[in-house]
């Protein structure tokens, strides 16, 4: 049953579940990191959930996404196991990558998650390759590269726009424009207000949407993904959004007026607007969403408890998995 222009009820429920899971996951990590329980660098995705959830609403397990250093949201939206992710972030042997990757390298090829990526702009060329494989095999799969406004200045991204356009690859580039490349504002780091305009120079469609609006993202992404699947080539989809936390956990954020975040949390929270829209329209009962919220809170609680109880990797793991055969 289609309940909006493009979305089925199943897609709506999945979208909400994804967004709420990401939010709970990230808010909980924020607390656990303050408690000094997590090793290393962590970059939280809270505030940007509508982008990952909206885009992945039109993807199957056989489709691929490349992600960024801020990758938890993409991993959850693409179907990575939440408990496996949590254990990975805690550096445990039960983690999705056996504790060898950590927050910045969560991947699961079985569900088309090509990996969070510690290199800004590392993903777009890889997604061109996924698109090339799809095209050569003719299997109809699509690749999506998530990147930030910061990465949109990297040569890898601009080269990938060109390569995908000339080869008409079945790929979509999703720029999550949260206004900051690390600590540097977009107004300083690029000379266009809309990153999507860069598509014009490469001969592919560029679209800008409100990245805090699940419906806007999902509908634009559905169209771009269908276009890719049908052999009409790549699209650049820019989603303007807000990062609720700093660039990394521990970032004092002295580069921005934190009323930006207060204001975004109060008036542009994708979960709040989603709930208001679907309940007001009578599409989903509020009780269904409440029950889902409780279920997700429990899942995140369990994932933290289980991660903390899990063993660290054995010393023998230090030099395994370097090669398949050496």
């Amino acid at each position: 049953m289609t309940v909006t222009a493009e979305l089925t009820q199943e897609q709506l429920l999945r979208g909400y579940r994804t967004m709420r899971t990401i939010r709970e996951f990230e808010e909980r990590l924020h607390i656990e990191i303050a408690n000094a329980q997590i090793p290393g660098f962590v970059h939280l995705y809270a505030g940007e959930e509508a982008v990952a959830a909206g885009v992945c609403a039109s993807l199957a397990d056989t489709d691929w996404v490349s992600s960024t250093h801020r990758g938890h949201g993409h991993a959850i939206a693409k179907g990575c196991d939440v408990k496996g992710m949590m254990a990975e972030i805690y550096g445990r042997a039960t983690g999705l990558c056996k504790g060898k990757g950590g927050s910045m390298h969560i991947a699961d090829f079985r569900v088309g998650m090509l990996g969070a990526n510690g290199i800004v702009g590392g993903g777009p060329p890889l997604v061109c390759g996924v698109g090339l494989a799809s095209k050569v095999r003719g299997d109809g799969t699509v690749g999506v590269a998530f990147l930030g406004d910061g990465a949109s200045n990297q040569g890898t991204f601009l080269e990938s726009l060109n390569l995908s356009a000339i080869w008409k690859l079945p790929v979509v580039f999703v720029v999550e424009n949260n206004g900051y490349g690390e600590a540097t504002g977009q107004a300083y780091h690029q000379s266009v207000a809309d990153t999507a305009k860069r598509a014009d120079g490469f001969g592919l469609p560029g679209i800008t949407v409100d990245g805090n609006d699940f419906f806007a993202v999902a509908e634009a992404a559905a169209e771009a993904i269908a276009r890719a699947r049908d052999g009409h080539g790549p699209t650049l989809l820019e989603c303007k959004t807000t990062r609720f936390f700093g660039h990394f956990e521990g970032d004092t954020q002295t580069y921005r007026d934190l009323s930006e975040v207060t204001e975004a949390r109060a008036s542009r929270d994708c979960l709040v607007s989603f709930r208001a829209r679907v309940t007001r329209a009578g599409l989903i009962d509020a009780g269904v969403l409440d029950a889902m919220d409780a279920e997700i809170r429990q899942l995140i609680d369990e994932s933290v408890v289980e991660a903390l109880a899990a063993p660290f990797p054995d010393a023998s793991q230090l030099t395994t998995d370097v090669y398949i055969k050496y």
């Binding site: 490349s66 777009p124 090339l132 494989a133 890898t156 370097v322």
Partner: protein
């Protein structure tokens, strides 16, 4: 008598045979066909900058892709396609150009398997030309395999003759780890016996190119050929040289090197790369640590100097280790004694 083929055509034949055998093999790179979009309407004008990919585009039009001059994008695309189940062969025309795409090789391809907990398979081959001798100056002549051998997760293959070039390339294409395959430009014309049928040479198995009893030379790529010339000269002087060609420097067949040094007691390493933190210094350090008991003379390295590759023929000829310099180093270790000052 077996068929003779040039190094270049051995490489070409390996790709033709593997593309015929396995539909997941694709080839991409700059001007590997050449001519697309040109006014001549000839979509296979070049077949590669020096012709290594000739004939592939005509035979497999959908699996052979010319790329724009855009190394980050297409080397990365090869890596991504490999992760998605293909077996791409990407041609990075000159290894000197890896500076603009190294991230996709050493941070992406090389690390997927480890970072992702053993769940990734990335069977990509990056073929690339290296080496001095074509008067191509500082940015088209370098011998950069030490940079790749340093990176865990990559395999580094350096054939020295046409037979090995074909067998090692077929092995590389069938191998499931990311591989950088080094082809010396000055070897392309070298002819040798190459079977018509398909065959593989395992990685990490050194080849004893010439047996001898006085001095072990360890060399790869073009330096094997230079060492063979030196060995002939030295034989006439009564010095018996054994030449060990590891063929792959990552993995490295250490045992064959140690066994040879145990037989000869002397080691000269010949390497066209710069001397610091190099293949030569690596082998020297390994032998010093693991076969010190066998040494009767100090280890000597014959390498390029610690300078960029010069343009002028008079300087470039001094840059490349010559058979004369190799022979001089061998005579040096014949006369030297362990424990004596240099």
């Amino acid at each position: 008598m077996a068929r003779k083929l040039s190094f270049l055509l051995a490489i070409n034949e390996a790709m033709h045979q593997e593309m015929a055998r396995d539909e997941s093999v694709i080839v991409l790179g700059e001007d590997i066909a050449g001519g697309a979009g040109g006014s001549a309407g000839n979509d296979e004008a070049w077949g590669g900058a020096l012709g290594a990919t000739q004939g592939l585009k005509t035979k497999y039009p959908n699996r052979v892709l010319d790329t724009p001059i855009s190394e980050s994008a297409f080397i990365g695309a090869a890596v991504g396609a490999a992760a998605a189940g293909m077996r791409p062969i990407a041609e990075l025309m000159f290894v000197d150009f890896m500076g603009v795409c190294f991230d996709q090789i050493y941070n992406q391809a090389a690390k997927f398997r480890y970072m992702f907990g053993g769940n990734a398979v990335t069977p990509v081959v990056i073929r690339t030309m290296y080496g001095a001798g074509l008067r191509a100056a500082s940015q088209h002549s370098q011998t950069l395999y030490p940079l790749f051998a340093h990176i865990p997760g990559l395999k580094v293959v350096i054939p020295s003759n046409p037979y090995d070039a074909k067998g090692l390339l077929i092995q590389a294409i069938r191998d499931n780890d990311p591989i950088v395959f080094f082809e010396h430009k000055a070897l392309y014309e070298l002819e040798g016996e190459v079977p018509e049928e398909s065959y593989t040479i395992p990685f990490g198995e050194a080849n004893i190119v010439r047996e001898g009893s006085d001095v072990t030379i360890v060399a790869v790529g073009r330096m094997v050929q230079q060492s063979l010339i030196a060995a002939e000269t030295l034989a006439a002087e009564g010095i018996s040289v054994e030449i060990v060609d590891p063929r792959t420097i990552s993995p490295l067949d250490e045992d064959t090197i140690y066994e040879s040094v145990e037989n000869t007691g002397r080691l000269v390493i010949v390497d066209e790369a710069h001397p610091r933190c190099s293949f030569a210094s690596d082998v020297g350090a390994l032998v010093a640590q693991n076969a010190f008991h066998a040494l009767t003379a100090p280890i000597r390295m014959v390498t390029a100097p610690h300078s960029p590759v010069p343009f002028s023929p008079s300087l470039e000829d001094l840059f490349v280790p010559s058979p004369e310099k190799i022979a001089a180093a061998v005579r040096g270790v014949m006369n030297a004694k362990a424990g004596a000052r240099r």
